[in-house]
Symmetry: C2
Subunit: 213 residues, 2 copies
């Protein structure tokens, strides 16, 4: 049975799950969440798909999972891929996933939304500056960690990498310039060089266009 992933192209959190599914070789298909038309705020979505009102959501037969890291863990359990070589690596992967959800992707996603998907006259300048500054600290932590190593944990690509890259391939401005962070830049090249890698906009249908039509 084909796994369904409720997602949308602009969602870096969705991308983390979609990329894990795609690179693992599992049979899956995206189901568009019409985010910019308000889909995740509607009762049908909250009651029928995800009470947290977030994407992505995975459906695999009777199994329904939310939170990208939980979905990635499910993909690892099913395929043996990306979960780390032992318990210590698994903890280290989880550590980076929590750090990312707290400090990196959460703030990058919000900032990118505020800077690109809100009408220009509704963009909160002080929040944008404040968040951009906090994000620089996160880029610094990741760049320092990646200096002199190929992958975040261990010797190969893991869910730590598939999580932390969530927003970093997007073209829209959100205070991130690859040239400023050479170790992150080289690591993103390694990721996009993986067989089967796809850009988020090639992996998932876009919602911003859909709601503008």
């Amino acid at each position: 049975m084909t796994i369904k992933l409720h997602c949308f192209g602009e969602s870096g959190h969705s991308y983390k799950a979609a990329l894990a599914l795609e690179l693992s070789g599992l049979d899956w298909e995206p189901v568009l969440v019409d985010f910019f038309a308000g889909a995740t705020r509607e009762a049908a979505y909250r009651e029928g798909v995800n009470a947290m009102g977030e994407a992505p959501v995975l459906e695999d037969g009777d199994t329904r999972l939310t939170q990208s890291a939980v979905i990635q863990g499910y993909v690892s359990d099913r395929t043996g891929r990306f979960g780390g070589a032992d318990a210590a690596e698994a903890r280290e992967i989880l550590r980076w996933q929590f750090w990312d959800n707290h400090k990196l992707s959460s703030q990058a996603g919000m900032l990118r939304f505020l800077m690109n998907f809100l009408p220009e006259d509704k963009r909160p300048a002080e929040v944008i500056d404040f968040t951009a500054n906090r994000l620089r600290s996160a880029y610094q932590v990741l760049d320092a960690h990646l200096a002199g190593r190929d992958w975040i944990v261990g010797d190969g690509v893991t869910n730590a990498d598939l999580t932390c890259c969530g927003y970093l391939f997007y073209p829209e401005p959100f205070g991130f310039a690859r040239a400023e962070w050479p170790a992150i830049d080289a690591w993103l090249d390694r990721l996009s060089g993986l067989p089967g890698w796809k850009h988020p906009y090639d992996l998932m249908p876009r919602a911003y266009r859909a709601s503008q039509d």
Copy 2:
């Protein structure tokens, strides 16, 4: 050997780990992180304790772990407590821990810092309003989930509860009033009624006072 937890009383993220250690019955002691004096920004801390520059950090012999949820998982592995009854519950616990790190404790912790521990003339009003609004959505999700149930996952207290309560017992203002959220209020009473429960300021040494001396 006594487990050490690098932490400070004002840190709700530290509290999550400290509470899990305390309720599990493991032998542990807090080590003060002098946060307000800048300890986590210093090279000695970044290089010797945690490159992410965060508290808490657990030390147990040669094992060193960061990120509160990872520490809670370690406590569960050692004691069999709070980790859920089966794999489905474990995933559900992890789901709430990720949600908390993204939407609840991350924002509550930041907002409480901005509203209470920054000098009054440095408090960014627009960021405070913006974050308070986002937090209300998180309180709403948690309150709706807890309506009609005693604990976040399954029939007893788990790491999901010990995570989501991280900031909710603090007395300082951060846009949270228990009376507004009856299901959260009743759940916090259940938590504080657990044998061995302690308030964060009774479980860990405070750093704000320490740096003011």
